[in-house]
């Protein structure tokens, strides 16, 4: 569509763009913003509207009157904070272990002499492409033999394996971009690999590590199928399972669902907006420049 505007990337001297090009790009941009943000804004608006307004034949895009009854409902009536606690425990533990294991592995792959490193990276990537339904049954059998059903442990172990490929790949790309001469200088000074990693590479890569942690956090926070299969009560169920179970007997409590969605998603959206530049360069190996 906007191939028309290609040339503006680096306009040759004296080349003049037709003025309508500039006009055309803004409707496109506006469409992208509305399409991306619109549904969530409506969800936010829904969460503070009383049920009576939600059931009226003409929806009100700007909430009036404002009510917080849905938020009260989910915390008082549905103990939503317990799901949040479960999710927080599982997700934070997973993210920390994932960063530790993943960054060490990425360091070894990127900066130490390992034969067949691309074979190993290919294996790691291949695992992340598995249909997850293919491992849910065997893992269920294993977990039930170990007595690990309805525990945080089982979810953490699974999410660790789901998150590690992402962490290893993103950090591998980042660690590769740090000049090798830094390692060599440290090595001359007698530093061992782990010293180089913890004292030099890791501190240098802090922004990338934080971003990767955020990606891993989002992946575990949002996971649904394993949480659904491996936990059966509110003591261990995570937020996605909690929201999926929000169904009324006579009608669907859309207001409560919207409130829960906002509680769960707003922190993620804010974090993503803050770190967006790092996330984009992390996901694309630095290929997208501002």
């Amino acid at each position: 569509m906007s191939g028309i505007q290609d040339f503006r990337q680096n306009p040759p001297q004296g080349f003049k763009f037709p003025s309508w090009d500039r006009v055309l790009i803004y409707p496109c941009a506006l469409f992208i913003v509305c399409w991306s943000v619109g549904p969530f804004l409506w969800q936010m608006s829904t969460s503070i509207q009383p049920d009576r307004e939600l059931m009226s034949p003409t929806p009100h895009f700007f909430p009036y009157p404002i009510t917080f009854e849905h938020f009260v409902n989910i915390f008082v009536g549905k103990s939503f904070h317990r799901y949040l606690t479960n999710s927080a425990i599982v997700t934070v533990t997973t993210t920390l272990i994932c960063l530790l294991f993943g960054s060490i592995a990425a360091f070894a792959l990127a900066r130490l002499d390992i034969r067949g490193r691309f074979g190993i990276l290919g294996f790691i990537l291949g695992v992340s492409m598995f249909p997850q339904i293919a491992i849910v049954a065997p893992l269920y059998v294993l977990a039930s033999n170990l007595g690990w059903l309805d525990t945080y442990r089982i979810l953490i172990v699974i999410y660790l394996a789901l998150g590690l490929p992402l962490v290893v790949w993103v950090l591998f790309g980042y660690f590769r971009s740090i000049p090798q001469t830094i390692d060599e200088a440290a090595r001359i000074d007698g530093a061992r690999p782990m010293t180089i990693f913890f004292r030099i590479i890791l501190p240098m890569s802090l922004p990338a590590v934080v971003t990767t942690g955020l990606l891993c956090f989002i992946a575990s926070w949002n996971e649904f199928m394993f949480a659904l299969a491996f936990t059966s009560d509110i003591n261990h169920q995570t937020v996605p399972v909690g929201i999926a179970n929000f169904t009324g007997v006579h009608y669907v409590p859309w207001g409560d669902i919207a409130a829960a969605s906002v509680v769960v998603t707003l922190p993620l959206v804010i974090m993503v907006l803050i770190f967006q530049q790092h996330i984009i360069s992390g996901l694309t190996g630095g290929a997208v420049k501002e």
């Binding site: 929806p59 997850q132 339904i133 049954a137 590690l164 769960v264 694309t284």
Partner: protein, 312 residues
């Protein structure tokens, strides 16, 4: 003298080999925690699943014997399996195509310089960050048959006379799920394509301008061919991901109405955790696994051939 010294360092350091020693963490030892975590949850379960698929294991009864290919024969004559299979292929094809097209359009817009581009890029990441379960519920509310905003908007525009029960009717349910999936995953696609676009040197655009090519010609003959490998890789990832769709369907329709949105993952899940047929369910998931490998190999072969064409 100084140069000689540096060179001697280089020659001693170049191989960068650390002798393998269990007590000093060599490179492979550093990989061990990560590889063990991944292997424990992937290789072993896949093999165990393969083994289960040859048995008639049912958790609700004591039957557990080796039945060879029995499950696979049952599967090929199971009309519900083929029903789910067709829906999965329809969903995978439609969502991958739509996401690639829309993603390409968004990437082309975002590769331009204009005021407020940072905001558009940030906004684009919002659907990606939202949990799929929330996306499901959100589209459930947007497309609600009674009070949904989509019905209201379409009625206001005069496109429909009466409310449509989007995901409650077999005719529209799969389409609604495809729209929700396109919304959720197009940003990721756009991001990958944007990365690909930005690796194409700007000098090519200048050359096109000098040669008097139109913008359309430039896109069609220069950018698109150069972007083809990225397009193929990105759509392969999307296709593999779309093929295993579970959350959206399970939460929005549960496979209904009248099995019109049943896909392989939900079908398998029901066999596993509602019927507790672990043997048959494992055969289903093994078939899915093999299909994923076939998709990946097909894309890989196609990609290699395209790359060779471009190379020549």
């Amino acid at each position: 003298m100084a140069i000689a010294k540096v060179q001697s360092h280089e020659t001693t350091l170049k191989p960068r080999k650390i002798p393998f020693n269990l007590w000093r963490p060599g490179p492979l030892v550093l990989l061990l925690p990560a590889l063990a975590s991944i292997g424990a949850v992937s290789i072993y379960p896949v093999l165990l699943g393969l083994w289960l698929s040859f048995r008639d294991t049912t958790l609700s009864s004591p039957t557990d014997t080796f039945i060879g290919l029995g499950n696979y024969f049952q599967l090929f004559s199971d009309s519900q399996f083929w029903n789910a299979w067709i829906h999965t292929i329809q969903f995978t094809t439609a969502s991958t195509l739509l996401e690639t097209l829309l993603g390409l359009m968004i990437a082309l817009v975002l590769s331009e310089r204009f005021r407020g581009r940072g905001i558009v890029r940030a906004a684009m990441l919002v659907p990606w960050a939202i949990p799929t379960v929330v996306t499901s519920k959100m589209f459930g509310w947007l497309f609600d048959g009674q009070n949904g905003v989509i019905n209201y908007l379409l009625r206001s525009l005069g496109l429909i006379q009466h409310n449509v029960d989007w995901y409650g009717s077999p005719d529209f349910a799969l389409g609604t799920i495809i729209i929700a999936d396109v919304w959720k995953t197009t940003p990721f696609m756009a991001l990958l394509l944007l990365a690909g676009l930005q690796t194409i040197p700007d000098s090519l655009a200048e050359a096109s301008v000098i040669d008097g090519a139109s913008a359309w010609q430039h896109f069609w003959h220069i950018r698109l061919p150069l972007l083809t490998p990225t397009l193929l890789i990105a759509s392969m990832f999307r296709a593999l991901d779309a093929f295993r769709i579970f959350d959206l369907v399970y939460v929005l329709t549960g496979g209904g109405p009248a099995d019109s949105t049943e896909v392989l993952s939900t079908f398998t899940y029901k066999h596993l955790f509602s019927a507790l047929q672990f043997g048959y369910g494992s055969a289903l998931s093994t078939v899915m696994f093999i299909t994923e490998i076939v998709i990946a190999v097909a894309f890989g072969v196609f990609l290699l051939r395209k790359m060779r064409e471009i190379g020549q």
